[in-house]
């Protein structure tokens, strides 16, 4: 039994060991550190991905703390991929701007570890520890450019907001423990609702929802998002907007699947309101943005609204739609922010929309990556975003949330305007946008891979959808 237990935490060990080794290399091998560190980081993230993809530990999990099922493994693979892509995108970016030290790479790996813990936790304590590890690492990553005031301001804002939200979350977990007496997530949330524990359960869950809502930036907990996304270095924004949101949403999905019918009946209307508000406010505010990173930030807020809408259908088989969309969303946002990273000049970030004028003709491939990601975010075929939106709305309508789906569809129609506006700037006008230095074969390769995957999933979604529905059905029993 013990053996299979250790197999469960193989990805975790690989990431933690990688992080520690990188810090050691930074401390003791000062001269050759810059060559070794990226390789180490890449290797340990790849190792985590491979071990979670191919090694099925089976068994009940690790000491009742970590889930070892397909659900956690699937997300562990996604986080490993996100980390690998972020490493690739930030390799040149960090070196040119002088923050490619051991702390950047090491902390990135710890953040990845935090994500895997959050998505795989079956125990409140592990969930909390994972989330705190993730948050602490992100504070450091956002402030990676030490001399840049915008970067520091973003980190500070995220830190203050994160601490307050973390406080709510901790208090919520404490209340939940107090009324159910269980630290095990599924046992606690699945316990039947009685007159005695009803108030406590709902209070605890609302507090937890504030923490989660902050992390996945649901309206009205979203206000930090554009500031932080704009201030952080572009590869970190890519990491932040995909990894951290997907991890917390995976946890939220687990909570929803575990929760008792009666509890769910209370929470569903709240989710309804949050989803509607998020879709509307996210998309409408994005219309007025003039900076690409802020625009993408509001877009990512709206995207979470769509997923939350499908989460309502979770008791009617909507979970696989949610998981599929999370995977697709990770690809799209990673690609979009990654494109910003590879299109930015050496001295400053290319952020103002006007800076992208005619970029489609100067850098056809990199601008093409951005264009396909925007197409996909807008949900236009033949990209993966179209299929993703299709399964989301299908799930919501099947479960009877027709009005909410209608709100979502209208919001999505409005959103097409700002996505296509960027496309117009990229391709319809010519202007002086300047040539960007090469970012190395790796960055371009990662971009191509994202592009190919988005198109492939848009044309042949069936294999992934089938795999996901198998994973989800194993989780709900």
């Amino acid at each position: 039994m013990m053996d299979s237990g250790w197999l469960v935490i193989l990805p975790h060990i690989s990431l933690a060991a990688g992080g520690i080794l990188i810090f050691c290399a930074g401390a003791f091998m000062r001269r050759r550190a810059s060559d070794i560190i990226p390789v180490l980081a890449f290797a340990s993230a790849a190792c985590a991905g491979v071990s979670s993809a191919w090694i099925d530990p089976g068994g009940p999990g690790f000491l009742g703390m970590l889930d070892s099922g397909g659900f956690s493994r699937f997300f562990a693979v996604i986080f490993s991929l996100i980390t690998l892509m972020t490493l690739v995108f930030s390799h040149h970016y960090a070196r040119d701007r002088g923050f490619a030290g051991d702390e950047f790479y090491g902390v990135l790996l710890f953040a990845a570890l935090g994500m895997i813990l959050v998505a795989g936790a079956s125990h409140w304590l592990i969930f909390f520890l994972g989330l705190e590890l993730l948050s602490l690492s992100l504070y450091v990553l956002i402030a990676a450019r030490k001399n840049d005031p915008a970067s520091n301001e973003a980190a500070l804002k995220y830190f203050v907001m994160g601490s307050v939200a973390g406080g709510f979350l901790t208090f919520g977990i404490a209340v939940l423990y107090a009324v159910t007496g269980r630290m095990d997530i599924s046992a606690g949330l699945g316990s039947t609702m009685t007159a005695d524990n009803r108030a406590g359960l709902l209070l605890g869950l609302s507090l937890v929802m504030v923490g989660i809502g902050f992390k996945i930036s649901l309206v009205p907990f979203h206000l930090w998002t554009p500031d932080v996304y704009q201030g952080a270095p572009a590869p970190v924004t890519a990491f932040l907007s995909t990894g951290s949101k997907v991890a917390v949403f995976a946890a939220l999905l687990r909570f929803s699947l575990c929760s008792h019918e009666a509890v769910w009946a209370y929470m569903a209307p709240l989710f309804w309101g949050l989803a509607a508000l998020t879709m509307i406010v996210g998309n409408v505010t994005a219309l007025a943005q003039t900076h690409l990173k802020r625009l993408l930030a509001y877009s990512s807020i709206a995207q979470m609204g769509y997923v939350l809408m499908a989460l309502l259908a979770v008791k009617h088989g909507g979970a696989s739609a949610v998981v599929f969309y999370l995977a697709v969303y990770a690809l799209m946002d990673l690609g979009a922010f990654g494109a910003v990273a590879v299109l930015s000049g050496e001295d400053r970030e290319r952020d103002d929309l006007e800076d992208y004028r005619g970029m489609g003709y100067v850098h056809p491939w990199r601008a093409g990556l951005l264009a396909v990601c925007l197409f996909s975010l807008a949900g236009l075929p033949p990209t993966a975003g179209f299929i993703g939106k299709f399964v989301l709305f299908h799930a919501a309508i099947q479960a009877g949330y027709v009005a909410l789906a209608l709100v979502g569809i209208l919001a999505a129609i409005v959103s097409v305007y700002y996505y296509l506006r960027v496309m117009g700037i990229l391709y319809m006008r010519t202007g002086e946008c300047g040539i960007v230095p090469r970012t190395g074969i790796l960055g371009d390769g990662a971009g191509m891979m994202i592009l190919a995957l988005l198109l492939l999933l848009g044309i042949v979604p069936s294999p992934l959808l089938t795999a996901i529905s198998n994973i989800v059905s194993s989780l709900s029993h």
Partner: protein
């Protein structure tokens, strides 16, 4: 078997992908080799699959594509004798034409684009041929339409070519609409979109729904196969390179329409009305196009009208309930028509892009190799007794003549009359181009040397054009009807017609006599000997000739009755409705939303206190709502 079928379908696609991704970075020779070998490989796969087909039809799923509710779409094939024979023909003719194109396109700089479309076309055509899922089939159906459009307008710098491509695309789209509706109807009726499922459950259809479905399929087929009333695009499609005309507009794509009817024949069989409609459309198109072909001056337009006419025979055979007759004729036609087109391509190339047959003439001595190839094609097209064209056409005529319904006797008469015209225009073409007094302009010109690869690839086609009919020689003449026996397992087919020998002899004799008479008349009128007297008797007045030459003025008719009112309507909708009314609404909403956006934007003040307030307000509202529900419920 699974691997063989996979390679059969996807090898040409791999070739196409290679051309589009790497075609511009490798030498011309590499592109040519990849193009030809991918299709040739596909041909060998088709051959081995045919030889391995022992235990009846076979359904292989390559990929489950997408699912939504009851709706499934998959990339799969349904491999039965019908599709096996069709796939073999498609890959064989395609492979030869690819090799021929290497010679034909030798001086063209845009070879990578050309072979990309050509390979992609073969892939799409194989999808039509083999697909089981109708959605997958539709993908191929639209794909061949697209490739046809792109290849007709291949020399797009000339405005006329681009216009011809557009015309072909738009007119075939009219048929595709019906196919789309038919797909929806099939899903409603059967709850599945698989051909194998539909054909085995076709007997459950009611007569009314079978008729509607049959007519929709007919309309779809009419668009693709250029039958009346959607004929006008095919003659214009001759603007494309000649190998394209041979492959797409003679041997393969245009037969996709009639092939669809054969593939779904059990559905059509359920409705008398649909069958009669198919037969009537076929005969009318055959007769119409034969008349038009008689008056054409452009060598390729003669062949184009001839294709329409011969496709009409295939429709007639399907309408008479004889799928095997139709399929045999389709194969035979593919061989001799591809042969004729490619030989015509040699002539055109040799005479520096000359298309007018009356400026050719006397080429027999100067292009002997091409002459004998062309002769083989003309003999088969003209259905001279003994050739493949004759044997296969004879089967169709027998099936029509012996059809229990009395009205089919009239169709038979019309078909025989068309047969006369067919032989007449076929030999007219031969005599004028090769035997006639040499035209003035050609006399002075040097013959442009033709690459040997262009003529040598035609020998197998010539052989098959003349002798492929013996695969299906009727029992009366001591044949075994091998092909009919092979196709016998396909649902809805009648392998042997079981007609009394008397009728069979009568039909064959009448057809043979008619063909020989027409050939003789052609010799008198257009042969090497000047015969003003006979010409004055038989050749009609100028107005009639113009009427035929223009294809009965159908183009002008459509322009006046359909296109112009449509353009007028479109103009009104554009200026008044769209720009006037709709744009106003959209402009108003496009002002409102960004305004709303800039108001909401003010919420993001950049100050942490506002953000924290948001957190608190959110929590308060959530708790408030929960409290209300707590006490209410």
């Amino acid at each position: 078997m699974r691997t063989i079928l996979f390679l059969l379908v996807f090898l040409p696609l791999a070739g196409a992908l290679f051309h589009i991704l790497a075609g511009r970075h490798v030498s011309r020779r590499v592109v040519e080799i990849v193009a030809c070998s991918s299709v040739a490989g596909s041909f060998f796969m088709a051959l081995s699959a045919l030889l391995a087909l022992k235990q009846g039809p076979l359904r292989v799923i390559f990929l489950r594509w997408f699912e939504a509710g009851d709706f499934h779409a998959a990339m799969d094939v349904y491999y039965d004798p019908l599709s096996a024979v069709m796939a073999l023909m498609v890959t064989f003719v395609s492979a030869l034409i690819h090799v021929y194109s290497v010679g034909y396109m030798r001086d063209d700089e845009d070879y990578a684009r050309f072979f990309f479309y050509l390979n992609l076309f073969v892939f799409c055509m194989l999808v039509i041929t083999l697909a089981d899922d109708l959605v997958f089939l539709f993908l191929g159906w639209e794909g061949v339409g697209f490739c046809s459009y792109a290849l007709i307008g291949f020399w797009y710098r000339d405005e006329a070519n681009a216009a011809a491509g557009r015309k072909a695309f738009l007119l075939t789209r009219l048929g595709d609409v019906a196919f789309g509706v038919a797909l929806g109807l099939v899903f409603v009726l059967f709850n599945r979109l698989s051909i194998s499922h539909v054909t085995t459950h076709a007997t459950e259809l009611t007569a009314a729904s079978a008729t509607v479905l049959g007519l929709l399929l007919l309309w779809a087929a009419v668009g693709k196969s250029a039958q009346l009333p959607l004929v006008v695009w095919l003659p214009d499609a001759m603007a494309g390179p000649t190998p394209v005309s041979a492959l797409i507009h003679a041997a393969t794509m245009v037969t996709a329409g009639v092939y669809l009817l054969m593939r779904l024949f059990p559905v059509v069989l359920m409705s008398e009305a649909a069958l009669s409609a198919i037969a009537v459309v076929g005969v009318l198109s055959a007769f119409y196009a034969a008349c038009a072909a008689l008056a054409q001056k452009d060598i390729k337009r003669v062949l184009a009208y001839s294709t329409i006419s011969q496709l009409g025979y295939m429709f007639l055979a399907v309408g008479a309930g004889d799928v095997i007759g139709s399929m045999s004729f389709l194969l035979s036609h593919a061989f001799y028509k591809a042969l004729l087109f490619l030989a015509a391509g040699c002539v055109i190339r040799a005479l520096h892009e000359e298309h007018d047959i009356f400026r050719m003439g006397g080429l027999r001595g100067r292009l002997p190799a091409v002459f004998f190839l062309f002769l083989a094609g003309v003999l088969s097209l003209g259905a001279i007794p003994g050739t493949g064209g004759f044997i296969n056409k004879d089967r169709i005529l027998v099936a029509v003549f012996s059809h229990p319904h009395g009205a089919f006797k009239i169709l038979w008469l019309a078909a025989v009359a068309t047969s006369f015209l067919t032989t007449l225009y076929a030999f007219r073409l031969l005599f004028v181009v090769f035997l006639g007094r040499s035209g003035q302009s050609v006399e002075q010109q040097e013959i442009h040397p033709i690459p040997a690869v262009m003529t040598r690839t035609l020998w197998p086609l010539a052989f098959l054009a003349l002798f492929a009919g013996f695969m299906n020689l009727p029992a009366v003449w001591g044949g075994e009807e091998w092909l009919a026996g092979f196709l016998g397992g396909v649902p809805g087919t009648v392998p042997h017609l079981h007609i009394s020998p008397g009728i069979e002899w009568f039909v064959a004799m009448s057809d043979g006599v008619v063909a020989l008479a027409a050939a003789a008349l052609a010799f008198v009128l257009y042969g090497p000997v000047e015969s003003t007297r006979w010409r004055a008797v038989f050749i009609p007045a100028q107005t009639v000739r113009d009427f035929f030459l223009s294809g009965f003025y159908l183009d002008r008719l459509y322009q006046a009755v359909l296109a112009r009112p449509y353009m007028e309507l479109a103009r009104i909708l554009w200026l008044k409705v769209d720009e006037g009314a709709l744009d106003g609404c959209i402009a108003a909403s496009s002002r409102t939303f960004p305004l709303l956006g800039s108001v909401l934007r003010l919420w993001t003040t950049g100050r942490i206190s506002t953000y924290l307030l948001g957190l608190l307000v959110g929590l308060t509202v959530m708790l408030g709502l929960l409290v209300i529900r707590f006490y209410a419920g």
